[in-house]
């Protein structure tokens, strides 16, 4: 008999094979996918996030936990009913125009996916017009802008301005991050939030969609 707490523990340990195996077992025992997600997978991720915030865990542990959850969700998604909630929120993500760096963006994308967000990754060197088009097409809760270079930080400001010009600014929260980005800069360009690292980005996004602690 699988205990939901065992799934939670496997996520905390980042053991994707064990997590998927336990999830399959739980499904076979008739535990609802919604319960497995909320009480097992998401609960495990919350513990991991808290351990990251307290300094006990680092990005590698978060990556492994996120991978375990992502692989488990692939097992569960076909079994979900309309009433089961799997998505915390929807995020459009991209590295801004002129910048081809993607390590930070990819990590945030993986962590968000593991945390239950639907992530639409537009890739790197994304012009402001593509962000606007993506907002119109996908209606996300959050737009995440990444930049590694000081040379491309103005592209963040341009993207925020383009949203305003298109009349979309009030429809989506904008968060920014990347090595040269500061809270001061985020405030100056009118972003809704700034994440210094992957852990902060997850907390910020959860808070912005009303799921934060």
């Amino acid at each position: 008999m699988v205990e939901i707490s065992a799934i939670q523990q496997a996520v905390i340990e980042g053991d994707d094979a064990a997590t998927v195996a336990l999830v399959r077992e739980a499904v076979d025992q008739g535990i609802s996918p919604g319960d497995i997600i909320n009480s097992g997978l998401q609960a495990g991720l919350i513990v991991v996030g808290n351990k990251f915030s307290s300094g006990e865990f680092f990005i590698p542990e978060m990556l492994l936990a996120a991978r375990a959850v992502s692989r488990s969700l692939e097992v569960l998604k076909p079994l979900l009913s309309d009433t089961d909630s799997v998505t915390v929120g929807r995020v459009v993500l991209g590295t801004v125009a002129g910048d081809i760096h993607d390590i930070g963006k990819n990590l945030v994308g993986m962590l968000l996916t593991g945390a239950g967000f639907e992530v639409i990754d537009l890739g790197t060197d994304v012009p402001a017009a593509r962000f606007v088009a993506a907002i119109e097409e996908h209606h996300p809760d959050i737009l995440g802008l990444s930049a590694l270079l000081t040379t491309t930080m103005p592209s963040m400001e341009a993207a925020v301005a383009a949203l305003a010009d298109a009349g979309l600014r009030q429809q989506v929260k904008v968060v920014v991050g990347g090595a040269p980005v500061t809270p001061h800069f985020a405030e100056r360009i009118g972003a809704d939030g700034y994440g210094a690292d992957g852990g902060m980005a997850i907390e910020l996004c959860r808070r912005l969609v009303g799921k934060g602690a």
Partner: protein, 374 residues
Amino acid sequence: MVTMSPRDRILAAAAKQPVDKLPFGARIDVWYNYHSGHGTLPEKYQGWNMVDILRDQGAGAQVRHLRIWRVEYDNLELVKHEDPPYTTTEWRTPVGTVTQKTVFTPEEGPWIVYEIDHPFKSEKDYPAIEHILENTRLVPDLDEYAEKERIMGEQGIIVTGMDLYSPMQQVMRYWLGYEQYFYELYDHPARVERLYELESALAQRKLEIIGDSPIPMPVICGNWSDEFHTPVFKKYFAPWLKEASDYLHARGKLTQVHIDGEMRRLVPFFPDTGVDVGEAWSPAPLTSITTAELRAAWGDRVTIWGGIPAVLFEPAQYSDAEFDDYVRNLFKEVAPGANFIVGMGDNLPFDGDIERVGRVAELIDRYAKLPIQI
């Protein structure tokens, strides 16, 4: 005290020797490459090199150089496909082919290529990467370095060394990439360890070449961030940094590492590594630590080089008065001033003000003669 050159001051502070005033080793290649590429260098500086610009600003200089050897291979075919600004490299080995795509756009600021992807794509690539590492030869080639030193003269130092990374950082950053590295270290630790062994053997050859070279203060690793690296730093990085520093100290060298990331949980590891200098120090607001905190943690064991975050040089973000206040406060934080080299963390941004580099030099002359009593 005999008048010291900018180079003298940098090397003296690195060696924990007395200096007449705070050394200044400015780095401006992002700004310089961008404006050279766009034809937007200030009129006065059109056609100038970086060293001459920094000399004109009254600042000491640092200029980057990637490596002092050529990389040659046996028993494999190296094929490069050029599609500017992209390059795809194929290593065709008897046990498989791996590829990597890079992009190089110096006109936007970078001085080295950026990896679009990494040679490791899946577990099947281990044999080919092992073969590459087993069949790599490093041939000393110092001509370009010597020319840069000639241009630099006494104005500062050429920063070069381990072509960026120590052995495990090379596995992590170059061959696998961060995400794959941590997944593979969990899934296939023995295979990652094998790559580490092979990179360590190559690293020893690099150290031998550096040890025989005239480089006074080689950079031996860098580009860490504590949220990524702390779990592996104690096991892989710190011991190697100690070995490398011991080896190079025995050959009359100082050592430096590039610390422009978030360092809070990595700071405690450094004093025991024997590393002489942490360069490109990027304090708050770019990271979470102040210079005063780092000084307290490292004491007189590791010289700090840096202290002015890149964003401070941007007039759009910080006024002249805010800039002056920050720099003067930095002098207070490091007073009386031993074992500290002023610099930027880690570069002058493309929209930075080159005149603020000169302003740092003026403020040093006014307030930062040692012992600092500001």
